[in-house]
Amino acid sequence: MARPALAIDERVGKDGQRELRLSGDWTLTALPAPVAALQATLREHAARRPVWDLTDVARLDSAGAVLLWQAWGRRWPEALTATAEQRAILERAAALPPSAEFSRGRGTRAQQRLDWLSWPLIVVGTLLFKAVRNLREVVTLIGQLVLDLGYLFAHPRDIPWREFSATLYKSGALALPVTALVGFLIGIVLSYLSSLQLKTFGADIYIVNLLGISIIRELGPVIVAVLVAGRSGSAMTAQIGVMRVTEEIDALATMGISRTLRLVLPKVLALAVTMPLLVVWCAAAGIIGGMVSANVEMGLAYGFFIDTLPRVVPVANVWIGIGKGFLFGFLIALIACHFGLKVRPNTESLSARTTSSVVTAITVVIIVDAIFAVLTRGVGMPV
């Protein structure tokens, strides 16, 4: 639809007095594409102090008014002809506080950024304080969970079985296919790569020791932890976070239901129970994958593999794997719930906390795994 374009018409009267007649639509939709050009023209005209005549302007909206007001240098021109309605709109622009007031407080931030010497210190310091604060809050959460457990011992009727079993199903049963697939493929790859090396030494049969120890003790728990942190940890953070955004957590609180007891505790306990089972499942898939690959690659018989496995891999390794699974599950759920409860009611915070939750969970799992490796270095190794 063609709209009347805005126009500026300048006339010079006999006495040398310039008259500026504006016409057309001075509205946001009718503004010409480079507004800067129009602004420059207006400023140029304004510098010559003409009589402004707006009576021919068909429509004037706040965008047009702001442009005029800016051109006038944020004050009324000496001579202005306008209708009462136009004046009312211009009054609005006139009521704007001077621009200096908006920019207060901006300068200080720019100065901070310039100070490059202290910048790394500020970044590291902020991170450190954040980490310490998170740690303290997680410890508080653990303390609250212990208190809740004590309460549940005294009042077994309040145990949230439904939430517990729901988490068991969602993060355990539904994760079976993906953990099996990933475990199986890792087993194949590991077995294939190792067999290439072992063959050159003629040490083919050590593939059983290698796969058994590495998958059961290390890879199984860590792979499951990474998968579960990405799958269930993020889901828990997002769920609790959305409940914060929609005030559902506050609703729970007003019903006298403890959020830690109803939301956090069942998730933490259920994941601590599920993870060891998933570790066993994933490790089994990994061993099977390795066995298949060893059979294809080196012709190692299945019967021999299964026979040898218990002899060369002490059973302590299985317990270490299960123990890690328990600890990792506990940590992932705890971290996920902690970040979920920290979500502030906006979408940006939700996405940031979900990211922190997954990243922190995986990092913590790997750190704890390293500590575990050091502490158990004398346990479960074949003699």
Partner: protein, 260 residues
């Protein structure tokens, strides 16, 4: 002059349920139309069809003479820039401050420089009677009434010719609701836009509407001025408008003497 809104033969079906069965409606420029109807009569659905969030099963919606769901994306975009919508819960972007929420549509135009945008945002804030110090707040820090005002400022930021309101006063206490209705009325008189709204609130209806469209039995049974609608004989209109309280409200607000 083409009507601002033109609905022709709108049919809406969800599965086997028929919500609307052939709705025709025209809204002329400068009118304030209020859609009323029982719960589940499809008022909000019709509103969503008007703004193009939902495609009717049959029929056509035209805004300013253009199809809302035109195949050409540029026509669609231009139509959408000519109306503003106020959602029931404000639908402010929670990650952006009040200032950025109102500036967002202006920035999307890619036409104005930051200084002009800033001036415009503060003007809109002043229009909805909020001060410059509110601009830095985040939506989560606002009270219910303020959320509505900011959302109204955002809906007005592109100088719309049509304002679409979904339950503008739901969730506000009567005093705030009165204020808000008064604000919309004042702005409408000053800026001259048309308004379509859905409301349950008789005070809002009586305080603002120049026309009332009643949705019942899957169609618009009547579309006329608030004073005339009282004379229509229909069970829904009886129960909605003719309770003791409703009659009092309608009398007080629609009689010319009440306007001082």
């Amino acid at each position: 002059m083409t009507p601002v809104i033109q609905l022709r033969g709108i049919v809406t079906r969800f599965g086997r349920t028929v919500i609307h069965d052939g709705i025709d409606l025209d809204v002329e420029s400068g009118q304030i139309l209020c859609l009323v109807g029982g719960s589940g009569s499809g008022k909000t659905t019709l509103l969503r069809e008007i703004v193009g969030l939902l495609e009717p099963s049959a029929g056509e919606v035209r805004l300013f003479g253009e199809r809302v769901l035109d195949p050409d994306p540029r026509v669609r975009r231009d139509v959408r820039r000519r109306f503003g919508m106020l959602f029931q819960h404000g639908a402010l972007f929670s990650a952006l401050s009040v200032f950025d929420n109102i500036a967002f549509p202006l920035r999307e135009l890619r036409l104005l420089d930051e200084d002009t945008i800033r001036d415009l945002v503060y003007m809109k804030l002043a229009m909805v009677e909020l001060g410059p110090d509110h601009a830095r707040l985040m939506p989560a820090e606002l009270s219910g009434g303020m959320v509505k005002r900011v959302a109204l400022a955002r809906a007005l930021s592109l100088e719309p010719e049509l304002l679409v309101l979904d339950e503008p006063t739901a969730g506000l206490d009567p005093d705030l609701a009165d204020n808000f209705v008064h604000l919309i009325g004042t702005l409408q008189r000053q800026l001259g836009f048309s308004v379509v709204m859905v409301t349950h609130d008789l005070d809002t209806l009586a305080g603002l509407a120049t026309r009332v469209a009643v949705l019942a039995e899957r169609r618009i049974i009547v579309c006329c001025s608030p004073a005339e609608v009282l004379n229509v004989d229909h069970p829904f209109i009886h129960s909605f408008f003719c309770s003791e309280h409703a009659r009092a409200v309608m009398k007080r607000k629609t009689s010319p003497s009440a306007d001082q």
